[in-house]
Symmetry: C5
Amino acid sequence: MINYNPREWFTFIFRIHKADTVKKLFPMFCAIAIYSAAIAWLELEVFKLSEKDHIKNITSMHGLLGFVISLLLVFRTNTAYDRWWEGRRQWGALVNNSRNLAMKIQAMLPAGHPAAAFFRTMIPNYAYALKDHLRGEHHPSKLEGMSAEDLEKMGTGIHIPNYIATLILKKANELYRQQVISGEQLITLNTQLEAFADICGACERIKNTPIPFSYSVFLKKFIFFYVMTLPMGYVFGLGYLVIPMVVFIFYVLASLELIAEEIEDPFGKDANDLPTEMISANIRKHVQEIL
Amino acid sequence: MINYNPREWFTFIFRIHKADTVKKLFPMFCAIAIYSAAIAWLELEVFKLSEKDHIKNITSMHGLLGFVISLLLVFRTNTAYDRWWEGRRQWGALVNNSRNLAMKIQAMLPAGHPAAAFFRTMIPNYAYALKDHLRGEHHPSKLEGMSAEDLEKMGTGIHIPNYIATLILKKANELYRQQVISGEQLITLNTQLEAFADICGACERIKNTPIPFSYSVFLKKFIFFYVMTLPMGYVFGLGYLVIPMVVFIFYVLASLELIAEEIEDPFGKDANDLPTEMISANIRKHVQEIL
Amino acid sequence: MINYNPREWFTFIFRIHKADTVKKLFPMFCAIAIYSAAIAWLELEVFKLSEKDHIKNITSMHGLLGFVISLLLVFRTNTAYDRWWEGRRQWGALVNNSRNLAMKIQAMLPAGHPAAAFFRTMIPNYAYALKDHLRGEHHPSKLEGMSAEDLEKMGTGIHIPNYIATLILKKANELYRQQVISGEQLITLNTQLEAFADICGACERIKNTPIPFSYSVFLKKFIFFYVMTLPMGYVFGLGYLVIPMVVFIFYVLASLELIAEEIEDPFGKDANDLPTEMISANIRKHVQEIL
Amino acid sequence: MINYNPREWFTFIFRIHKADTVKKLFPMFCAIAIYSAAIAWLELEVFKLSEKDHIKNITSMHGLLGFVISLLLVFRTNTAYDRWWEGRRQWGALVNNSRNLAMKIQAMLPAGHPAAAFFRTMIPNYAYALKDHLRGEHHPSKLEGMSAEDLEKMGTGIHIPNYIATLILKKANELYRQQVISGEQLITLNTQLEAFADICGACERIKNTPIPFSYSVFLKKFIFFYVMTLPMGYVFGLGYLVIPMVVFIFYVLASLELIAEEIEDPFGKDANDLPTEMISANIRKHVQEIL
Amino acid sequence: MINYNPREWFTFIFRIHKADTVKKLFPMFCAIAIYSAAIAWLELEVFKLSEKDHIKNITSMHGLLGFVISLLLVFRTNTAYDRWWEGRRQWGALVNNSRNLAMKIQAMLPAGHPAAAFFRTMIPNYAYALKDHLRGEHHPSKLEGMSAEDLEKMGTGIHIPNYIATLILKKANELYRQQVISGEQLITLNTQLEAFADICGACERIKNTPIPFSYSVFLKKFIFFYVMTLPMGYVFGLGYLVIPMVVFIFYVLASLELIAEEIEDPFGKDANDLPTEMISANIRKHVQEIL
């Protein structure tokens, strides 16, 4: 994620950031400029179509469909943003959950009980494991205090966050069987203990379920034909000025689709993705402060 | 569900996928093209209506109603998408729930207790049973480790997911009565045990409740009359170009309605439906990893 | 509720269903057609207003206010649909709750305990009582296994769903006092036991709280004046064609308001209302399958 | 709250109800009519501006900004309605909560235990106290069965709903210490016992937090300048007809803002406010039926 | 936060409040006025472009993109407002939680138990600590009754709200170990005890996650180019009147973006920020009333 000060308008407007859609779409801008120029040249100079030609009025279609395409792009933006924000909320829940579990363990264990060290390493390990799991990676070096046996098992392609969550659940039930914590205390730990798998499942759901295929196809086809037919009608009113206009309209429509695509899977390493690395580090820091 | 890379614009735009609305609507496109051509021919060549005829100004109605139809189609899209996404969330909840139950059972049971095998087969069985139940099917071969008696009962037309959920609840209460798990542990299992029926009920609700009949009828009538009256007015400005324009506008409006219809019942085998088969297989895989 | 196949476009478009707004609004269509014809006749033939008269440009007001009226009608549609869907969710919750309670009772009670029969009749009774309560009716014949004393009390105008919920809660606490179920088991029953009153309250809230009076009045006034002034300006461009245009625009605007009115109280017997009768029957069927 | 039949269109359209925005805005209508007439007179008869004057085209600005103002007013309407509906949901939750607590107490207490009388009066007292608290009032006469000591304390300006909630919590814990109810029963009462303060807090939040100041100011400025500049451009097309048009547009825009203002604080005695008085009376009635 | 009476229209419209966007944007207004004047002078008097020049029709682009920019600004407004409102809800939850915890402690502790004094100071301390934490400040003087040791530790840069929440959790578990409160009572305290960390995490999430960078950049670029190209086309119709028109359109668009920026981080000291100071004081007042 890029940290930025939303109030610095000027640098935003004139600097082309690496994640900027202007940069990504630049080759398309050129192609569309050439296409528009060709249409204008053909209509104005080759076929010498007059202002009275019917093709001029194709612009009325663009007016009518302008609402639909705008509303659909905002629908697209909304759903993509909702996933991004839900991803953020899930990682926020992981923070809350890690802290609450650490605080409760700290409040329940007798001073100096060895299980504190277990939770002190395992709770942050879960965050690191989940981050890497969502990126399809595995970095055992980030996981602290795992036994050699655990590390070996985790290298066999199993679901690593589940494995760590099971270890945490087992330890809590073991403490209960050893009567270090009472049954009532186990109940108060339950929300935190089951939240790990819930958060992991929610993130997997966001990651694995893009917007339905049909909408994605439809929207791209719609934008394409809308933009491709734009210069045909507007060339009569605008002449060669139709070139920057079509490029600008394409910039607006395609940017919205592009940003939505980038944002709807928020767990990667794109410029707009969530700072899961930093959140994991914060969880480790705060859990170690508490325990 | 179709897995796709949302960033491959060109294949999207030019390939006609089998679930593509272009394919489904093709016969309608032809009919509407013929209808528009007929209207154009009648108005321009038979009746030779001049530009000053009142019918030309019917286009102002299309302008005024353009907002309403766009907003209604986006409302339709939103509600259909919300159901699809809620369906996905329910199946995500089933994943979380199955994992959490398996992990807790694993943490609570003494090593080697025979009940582990029961949960190892029954938790994934629930997912398979629910998937088939939502499709109005029954595939006993997908259910592992069911007794002959259970299989027989399930063949009598009873509600199979309920039957399996009851078996799981009974086993948990039996373990409690046998004091294998304590009362406090039973309480911590409760959320997972009752989630099965909640998820099943929510999926049935989505499946059995399409958008209210009146909206569905109204929207179809509205699209129909809107598109049918389109060529009457625009033919004066556009001539025979009115044919592709009307077809394209119909493509946009009808696609939105068609996709919404397909998506609002997300548990079937349509191209856009949820991958419940794959999710069930994943549940089996992960539960077996854990237990 | 009407069961329908949303993909049968043609029957939808040409059949006038009994709940169809076309049918309900037909007298209004006639009145508005006559009104528009009168306006057109007066302006064109009596006063012989020319195209240059100022009244022609009143159409610019309709253009400006077209957005607002469209957005307001979609706001209206959204809020009405949300109530309908929330009502459906509450009844879905009643299904889940009834099933879960039946399953848990079945798992907890020793085989052959007489309390099973009590829950087997009382859980479905609650659904029937709630359905009738929301319709302001009382059908004792639908309630199975009630004692004569209970039936008599219920005839005195008391809140019947509350009465049945109290019976269920009392029975559960009685089983606990008799140590048939343990304290921990009582806790796991708690969510289901308290859901009855929550669902009932939510349905009563939806039923008793229409959209605020001011919005309802404002929207009706707005539609009325908008449609009444429509023919005044458009008559110059459209001549007597203004009649079908005004009727069609009125059809669209008034239909949205009418459907919203019908749908926002979803517990009656209107064509679009929820199938609470059928859901109650299903609850009885499934609870009897389980217990 | 006004009870009304949403299907009586005609009385709605022609009757001016006391809460009607037409009545409230009437002085403004006159002012705006005079202002528009003055603008029209100045432009048409004093300065005799011709149709070619640049000021005529100021209308294009109104077209462009028409979307923004419509969308903002719908945003305003949505947020105000959401508060109103959330307030209603909170009071619905109070109903559910009061009923559930009464039912549970009834199921748990031995027949004839004196604590029943306590809950029978205190649960409805909470609703009455909350209603008056949200209106900044205090009516001790509405509270039944309070001891003289309690009434005296409540007269000292303390937070009365909190005081009553504390009494209820204390009684429940006292019953637990006296072993009238068991620990497990106390746990099942917990949701209801803590809901009182949650509901009170949510209502206070809605009451004390209007829409951010900046939006409120911005929207009013925007409506004002939008309407004030309207006659300047439209006078050329509409002549003195600009007067009713500007008044009607002002009616629509200002009504939306006015209704939103009235509705966003739903606990007062305005015509559109929630029927908290009636809900409190219903809670008393139903709790007394149960206990 | 500014307390205001939303019904005082006139003071709102004519007074320039310090948080008013008119004040903040004033330098930009001047720059844009000069720019527009320059464009008008160049086009009308230097190049003497006639009404037939193509550049006149660039206005059609502004019409087409008017929907998109309006919808995007409303999307921006919605997301910013949602954060602001979620922040308010979290602080409301802190109020509810503090009250409920105080009431429960009061109901559970024997009269005169010294732990009451601990909760009486620590619960409000949490609110003060959270407020300062969200502003990146630390004011030990606001925290009552902290031991010297605690104050010293809190000065070392640790996460202060977490530290206080841990103290509260420890005290509750200590009371449980000393059998002052029973296991069941500990369970009923659990929701309140774990809410502290959840609320803190949610506020941190809102504070640290502005809208994705790409949207922020895109929207600013879009507004900038939209406004910059406005005078080019409209100058032909409006002459020098284009200057106030462009300034007014810029005012509307930029105000929405500016207010959204201010509001999406609601925990600071800006004019529109939440009254966290006052809420903290209220929590102290009410907790001291109860305990």
